[in-house]
Point group: C3
């Protein structure tokens, strides 16, 4: 004979598994950015954002998925990709809050220049995510160089 667990235990277990799945999905989304943007896959990069999601990076202010798509197709980005570039994002520190989440990570932009590879920028990244009918999406991303400025360092706080 076996004793059955109480239903509340199973509800709690389902919630725990759901949180692990959410964290894994968000980590995967952040880890996808570099490969997709370095492949210049504008559709796939744009799809990481919510339709009205934003991305602020070094004075470039994108205000929609369409803006992100345009960035990937821009001559500036195409030039980087065709010369050789790596948007290398570190492991994301994800903090869930129900149907919202934040993710923080650092990043290196490595570019191939004159036959060598150089670190063109080290950066701080803060993502705000929301759960949608299509899964987790970026609603706001802010990236700034870690050049000693408070703007960069200020993005590195981790929610608890």
């Amino acid at each position: 004979m076996t004793t059955m667990p109480d239903q509340p235990d199973l509800v709690a277990l389902l919630e725990r598994v759901g949180r692990l799945e959410d964290e894994a999905a968000i980590s995967r989304l952040v880890a996808s950015y570099g490969p997709l943007v370095d492949a210049a896959d504008a559709d796939a990069v744009a799809a990481l954002w919510a339709p009205e999601g934003t991305y602020d990076v070094e004075g470039w202010q994108m205000r929609s998925r369409a803006d992100v798509h345009a960035m990937v197709c821009s001559p500036e980005h195409r030039g980087l990709v065709e010369g050789g570039c790596t948007h290398f994002l570190g492991p994301a520190v994800v903090t869930l809050a129900g149907d919202a989440a934040t993710a923080v990570c650092e990043s290196l932009l490595v570019v191939h220049r004159d036959g060598r590879f150089v670190v063109a920028r080290a950066g701080a990244n803060r993502f705000e995510m929301e759960r949608s009918a299509d899964g987790w999406q970026i609603v706001r991303r802010t990236t700034h160089a870690l050049d000693g400025s408070l703007a960069g360092r200020g993005l590195l706080g981790i929610d608890r």
Copy 2:
């Protein structure tokens, strides 16, 4: 009195937990490569591959676990390790498909040269994995420099 969940719910929950375990195991396998190869632990590196697994990197074509072992023991690799090197792989983007999976990540090879550390190569990596009686193993890995070539950029597509 408690209401018991249906058995199908528990089957689904077991599957969900199994997927999380598979993704974690594959991520850990990819994350292990750098530390193990930089420690020149040829046995442990080779064991990441299936016996007939392959590894193509920059014109070096390995066709078995034994070939991978020989690469780690080669004078070229030993020279890198003894001078100081870091095969720095980013977080893997894992896509499961039952008993097979792919993992994509970018990587930096940093070498210690003349008392300084330089990025010798930025690369794209695509792993094809299979589940074996001994756990997940690499059946095919392809790595290419992100130097602007289509060969590198072409490895960065993420399966959905």
Copy 3:
């Protein structure tokens, strides 16, 4: 009618979920170090360690949480942060052993110097963790440059 699973199955499932949660918590802790130390958040960095936890890095021997706090507040570290620095840690390879665990990863220290970003050091990191009433904490961390020395390479072994 549904057949109920045996209680032992559920105990095993709870253990599996607990292991996934432990691995995720430890990975997150390691991933937090870089952002927190580059933000010079001494309280948050120190809280990653156990009260008597140690950190040995390049001849700097910290023997308590208070020592780690003092390192983050030191003129040397403040100088790095104010000039611009990134302690970029790769994905951790976590090995659980009940209420203890190890985590191994490689790292790059990138500093902003004369308007450029340079890799000042590539390193090997080994963390020993313990579960406490406040969650997982670092009881011992050792970091050494990957400069070809055995001291660096010796930290890269992965527990199985």
